[in-house]
Amino acid sequence: MPKENIHKVEPQSWQEWKEACSIERCRSKKTLQQLSTFGRLRLDAALRSISPEVASHYCAADLGNRAWLKIEQYLYAGAFDKQKKECKAYKDQILEGCTDSSHFEAILSLKVKQEIARWILSEECFRIVQKKDKETGRKKYAYIRDESLAEELDDLTDQNDGVYVEPASASDDEAVEGAAAFKAKQFWAGLNTSKNAIKRLMLVCLLNDIWDMNAVLSSGLSDCKKTKLYAERETLLKSLEMLDWGSECKEPAEKAYMTRRMLPHLKEICEKWLNTAENSELKRFIVTAGSATCA
């Protein structure tokens, strides 16, 4: 076969592959060669910039149809018998929306470069970091083999503290929700004194995602100084953190989890309270400041 034809898959070759389930059942040498090359070049293009090692493992020129077989392995959804007609459904699905063979090849190429490359790389445990190119200053993604998963796990723990805690058993599902609702009521009631009015204002702001103390000051809702507002907010956050959830819930992560479960209940109580006539001015402020924050 002339070398210039290797990079092109002719419609007849696609047709043979479509009928034949897998490349392993294609009889024409031309089909075999064209499909192998198509798969090898696409997969190599996607993998090489990330990991020449992995690219060579699947896409070296002397490996025959290894790249294409890997592509098929993904597309077949693995669980089924390749001989059955059900396993060819993906071909029909891709073909169904295509205008011509170039369109079909474009879709298949995109799948190889995106989904299949991702699958192979994540199987190989790669991770991505962003680096700055020294010469051009342009930001680039770099992929490095993930030597230590534990390192990233720590990062996760820091980022999502409390996320790993859950109700322990079936009977705890409702109990956790009940405890969160109970504590929300109790916490709100604790702020319902004139002495705690600023703290309650801070809580209303927190629950409505308002962090700008200048906005609170200029609203005239409080005649405190800015430092006092910050101090009250600090105390409020501490008291949320220090809530006593009973003897079965002592670890910081467990407490953080319960506080997170409590917040929607607290927000519900807060909204009801804001909707009363005497709090209309505060409600107006929350709506205005909230939308300003969003903008």
Binding site: C87, A89, C98, K111, V165
Partner: protein, 354 residues
């Protein structure tokens, strides 16, 4: 602060294996986003996004009988993202509201959140089910997809249980919990962006569901009339269908004329034979002859000449579309259908290729 009335509860740490799910998921997500960015820079997406047809040759016909437990590959034109192979599990087929409940499979190989489950299937695109993204879709649209496999009974039972956990917000326990991801508690969690993307995959099917419901409502409101000889008229369109003559030496079987209508036009007229299930007070009409236009989940109306209003019951097509089922709302309505001298069935075809 007193804790005397605090309900007793116990919380526990998720296992290390499940923590690894999240880690693995984040890795896949990062890779995914970076590879997507690369493709966008290479301008590969524009060509792929072209909508079209015409190249499709010798496509395998759709598997039109929709069953609970089917693993189906949705057709390209029903999915938002060009080139996506979107597999779904059919969790329920509803025989009363034209829909089926499907659960999509994730593109990632590990569960990202509490309502995603590691199925235990080996195929890469079938490893994880997204219960949080379970959707009612028109059954007829599902009939325009390919069956690629089936869940065994045990796996299906777990899936149905997990769906109920997802809608109630409760947790699975024991071995099953070890196969689900971790809860999303932080409103800034990156997993929420992924959920938004995945929800959008069903935009087209949600539109088709809306169109279907509109079609069913409009058909039920159509004004029809019978004359004394059983001729059936669509009043607004002034289109009348005479009552066909009864065959001599009838076997006792009851037949009805069936009209297939699309946007007030009759596209075909067929006959159907009645079977009555007195126990469940349900009528099944089996289409005789050409079933070319039929799919399950089309809305149908049953009209009779023996009531003030000719509309006796609303139902739907089932199985491969060739059986029309009506379950009258009351025993009196059931009797009226049995006693009607002339009956007609109208199947309202939604636009099936939109």
């Amino acid at each position: 602060m007193s804790t005397s009335k605090l309900p007793a509860f116990k919380v526990a740490q998720a296992s290390e294996a499940r923590k690894q799910f999240l880690l693995r998921w984040r890795l896949e997500r990062k890779l995914d986003l970076a590879l997507r960015m690369q493709q966008a820079e290479e301008s590969c997406l524009a060509m792929v996004a072209e909508a079209g047809a015409g190249y499709a040759q010798n496509l395998r016909p759709f598997d039109t009988s929709v069953c609970v437990g089917d693993i189906r590959l949705l057709r390209q034109s029903d999915i938002q993202e060009p080139g996506r192979l979107l597999y779904v599990l059919v969790l329920y087929v509803r025989n009363d509201n034209l829909t089926s409940l499907v659960v999509p499979f994730s593109t990632y190989s590990t569960p990202c959140c509490k309502d995603e489950w590691l199925t235990g299937l080996e195929g890469e695109p079938l490893k994880v089910l997204q219960f949080w993204n379970a959707q009612p879709v028109p059954t007829f649209a599902l009939a325009q997809s390919w069956r690629v496999g089936t869940f065994d009974e045990e796996r299906l039972e777990v899936a149905q249980t997990l769906y109920h956990h997802a809608i109630s917000g409760s947790w699975p326990h024991g071995d099953v919990r070890e196969k689900v991801g971790l809860a999303i508690l932080n409103p800034n969690d990156e997993r929420l962006a992924y959920q938004q993307e995945e929800l959008a995959q069903f935009t087209k099917l949600r539109n088709r569901l809306f169109t279907l419901q509109q079609t069913a409502t409009l058909q039920a409101k159509r004004v029809v009339a019978f004359d004394t000889k059983g001729a059936f008229t669509f009043v607004k369109e002034k289109k009348t269908f005479k009552q066909p003559e009864r065959l001599a030496a009838s076997s006792g079987d009851v037949f009805a004329e069936v009209h297939l209508c699309q946007e007030e036009k009759v596209v075909a007229s067929l006959r159907a034979k009645r079977e009555t299930d007195a126990t469940t007070q349900t009528f099944h009409w089996s289409i005789v002859g050409n079933k070319a236009h039929l799919l399950p989940g089309f809305p149908a109306c049953l009209y009779g000449n023996n009531a003030k209003k000719p509309l006796l019951a609303q139902g739907q097509t089932e199985c491969d579309g060739s059986v029309i089922t009506f379950k009258p709302a009351t025993p009196a309505a059931f009797t009226r259908i049995q006693k009607a001298a002339f009956v007609r069935i109208v199947i309202a075809l939604p636009k099936i290729n939109d």
